[in-house]
């Protein structure tokens, strides 16, 4: 088994906007090994989000190769891609994307529905994850009754509930204030210490400093890819 979790070769994503072809991602070749903590940086429109959507199997490359855990995603149909999203990838979004009017517990259990896990087991695993996020006394709260930081922790619990290989976080601190952002980065660092690969998309340079490796996009291409020199540590909340 390879230690490479992710490999891209000449990855391209084109969009047709107003009759003109835009290369949102243009010939990107890179690899991410298991256990890395990567921050993908770039201005808006640099292609970082498009790149992340492709490695998250949410979007399909126009050309090029994407190997995920050794599997060429070109060969997969939509069901197989759904299965990869379900079992190998955990998503964390800027706007949390929790189901409204649904308890934290049920929100965290959603991915397990699609794994085919039974009701009781779903709830048990969801509860474990929420407790690990320090939300033991918030199980029945709906998103409306949770703070932003709490909502993002519920979302992280949801991302982790299927034991994925990789967390993909798209601007996870974008809607949070500095102190809460720090807490969230602490959680990511702790999870990374425990072995999970974290890929983080952000446009904030200081948030990127919590990662171990920084990849910078501009105009659909990687212009910089290096280890973070003075890495910051945040104590987990």
């Amino acid at each position: 088994m390879t230690t490479l979790l992710l490999e891209t070769h000449d990855l391209v994503k084109d969009y047709a906007i107003g009759g003109e072809i835009v290369h949102a991602v243009n010939n990107v070749s890179l690899s991410i090994a298991r256990g890395e903590f990567v921050a993908i940086m770039g201005a808006s429109g640099s292609g970082k989000s498009t790149f992340m959507n492709m490695i998250g199997c949410l979007d399909i490359p126009t050309s090029g190769t994407l190997l995920l855990d050794g599997i060429d995603t070109k060969t997969l149909d939509s069901d197989a891609l759904a299965e990869i999203r379900n079992r190998k990838i955990g998503f964390v979004f800027q706007q949390f994307n929790l189901l409204a009017r649904t308890s934290a517990l049920d929100n965290v259990a959603v991915p397990l529905i699609y794994t085919g896990i039974g009701y009781t087991e779903r709830r048990r695993r969801a509860q474990d994850r929420l407790e690990a996020m320090g939300l033991a006394n918030r199980l029945q709260n709906t998103p409306a009754k949770l703070s932003g930081g709490q909502q993002q922790r519920v979302a992280i619990a949801r991302a982790l509930v299927t034991d994925p290989l990789m967390l993909l976080a798209d601007e996870p601190t974008g809607a949070l204030d500095t102190q809460i952002s720090l807490d969230i980065m602490g959680i990511f660092q702790k999870l990374n210490d425990d072995g999970i690969t974290v890929v983080l998309v952000t446009h904030e340079p200081d948030i990127a400093e919590y990662a171990a490796r920084r990849i910078v996009f501009r105009d659909g291409q990687v212009i910089d890819d290096a280890a973070v020199k003075s890495r910051r540590r945040a104590s987990a909340a």
Partner: protein, 416 residues
């Protein structure tokens, strides 16, 4: 096996998701359900009323008696002034000839029917008198619930006796059982010897509003018109041993009577021979058409209900595009998304169907009580209703559900 259990569990989840979504937009869900409810309600009620008409008709046929032919004289309605030879005639001797010469005939019951006025001290009633023989009771399944029916000796002696129907009895003798009482029929005193067993009413026709007297007595004492011959009858009931001999017997009766009345070739019969089977068939056809028309009209409202479901499901899919994207990101397959919305539509429809069915049962029972018209709703109708509404859900929920499942995950997730 594991797959089956897994998919069942999946459906359970979908029902839970559907119920949550429907509760979220409670008012909208109720209004949408209302459409299906009204549709199912009217379809079921139409089926019930149609069934009722059929039951009612077959009851009516049963009161006629089965395996029976009815011979009625039919005046020639052709051109030219009526001549005596044109007039349809039928006599008791025709009846005897039918009994003698047509195979499979078990009984003949010649009858004269006449409207009569009955008087008791203080009360009176107008009803139809049937002058008959004891065979009338046999052929048309009529017995006496009190007292007795006519006997051969009543007919032989032209006895002034009458068997009266329940409606007549209630008019004349509201408080007592009239057996043994004297009544005056067209001023002639008669003794009531029995009460006809009730045959109820069907389609507004009261079978108990009649009396039966010996055919001889009626002819001698109650006929006011002298125009008819001494042997003439109004009609003859011919009872057959079984259905097969009824079918062949109908033709034989026609041949025999044409012979007896020397009807020239090519001229139409001066009489008609109808069988209970024919009557049942034609009335059956009529009621079936009646039912089909009713159900067709009712189906339109069900169709409208279905379109309402489709409309609301399309709105629901559009509103929840982001949720669909999220679920896909979390691992939902296209089929999961499709099933989720299918179940939501089916739940709406089944709830509407169940309520519509309950209301239809209620309405049918009220209808039965008020209109005295049976409107039976059987288990089959009930199952049909619920299955039908689920199918409506699948058909009209199908398009929105498939549309939802075809969304691209990233575009759905990006939508606001």
């Amino acid at each position: 096996m594991k797959d089956v259990l897994g998919s069942l569990a999946g459906w359970g989840v979908n029902v839970a998701i559907a119920l949550t979504a429907l509760r979220t937009n409670l008012m909208r869900s109720i209004l949408t359900t209302l459409g299906v409810m009204i549709g199912v309600f009217s379809v079921i009620l139409a089926v019930a009323v149609g069934n009722g008409a059929q039951v009612s008709v077959s009851q009516q046929i049963a009161t006629l008696g089965s395996n029976m032919a009815i011979v009625v004289p039919q005046p020639d309605s052709g051109s030219g002034p009526p001549r005596p030879s044109d007039r349809g005639r039928l006599t008791e001797r025709d009846g005897q000839a039918i009994l003698r010469e047509v195979s499979g005939v078990s009984t003949v019951a010649p009858q004269i029917r006449n409207s009569v006025q009955i008087v008791t001290p203080g009360r009176s009633a107008t009803t139809q008198a049937t002058g008959a023989t004891p065979e009338y009771g046999v052929v048309s399944n009529i017995t006496a619930s009190e007292g007795r029916f006519l006997t051969q000796s009543d007919v032989g002696s032209a006895a002034r006796v009458a068997v009266i129907g329940e409606t007549v009895a209630n008019k004349l003798f509201p408080e007592t059982i009239p057996v043994g009482e004297t009544i005056r029929i067209n001023r002639v005193p008669f003794t009531v010897i029995g009460l006809l067993e009730s045959k109820g009413s069907n389609l507004g026709n009261d079978n108990d509003d009649q009396i039966v007297v010996p055919i001889t007595t009626l002819r001698q004492r109650l006929l006011t018109t002298a125009a008819q011959g001494p042997d003439d009858v109004t009609l003859i009931f011919v009872g057959f041993e079984d259905e097969d001999s009824l079918l062949s017997g109908q033709k034989e009766i026609e041949r025999l009577l044409r012979d007896r009345y020397r009807v020239a070739k090519g001229k139409i019969n001066p009489f008609t021979v109808r069988t209970t089977t024919e009557i049942a068939e034609t009335t059956g056809e009529v009621t079936q058409i009646f039912q089909a028309v009713l159900v067709a009209i009712a189906s339109i409202s069900l169709l409208v209900g279905g379109i309402g479901i489709m409309n609301i499901m399309l709105v629901s899919v559009t509103e929840r595009t982001r949720e669909i994207g999220l679920r896909m990101a979390l691992g939902a397959k296209r089929s999961d998304i499709r099933n989720q919305f299918l179940v939501e539509a089916a739940v709406l429809c089944v709830i509407g169907g169940a309520i519509g069915l309950s209301l239809a049962i209620l309405a049918a029972s009220i209808f039965e009580r008020i209109a005295e018209f049976p409107a039976p709703i059987g288990l089959d109708t009930a199952i049909l209703a619920v299955a039908f509404s689920a199918i409506i859900g699948l058909v009209f929920g199908g398009y929105p559900a498939i549309r939802a499942s075809r969304l691209s995950p990233i575009e759905a997730l990006r939508s606001e």
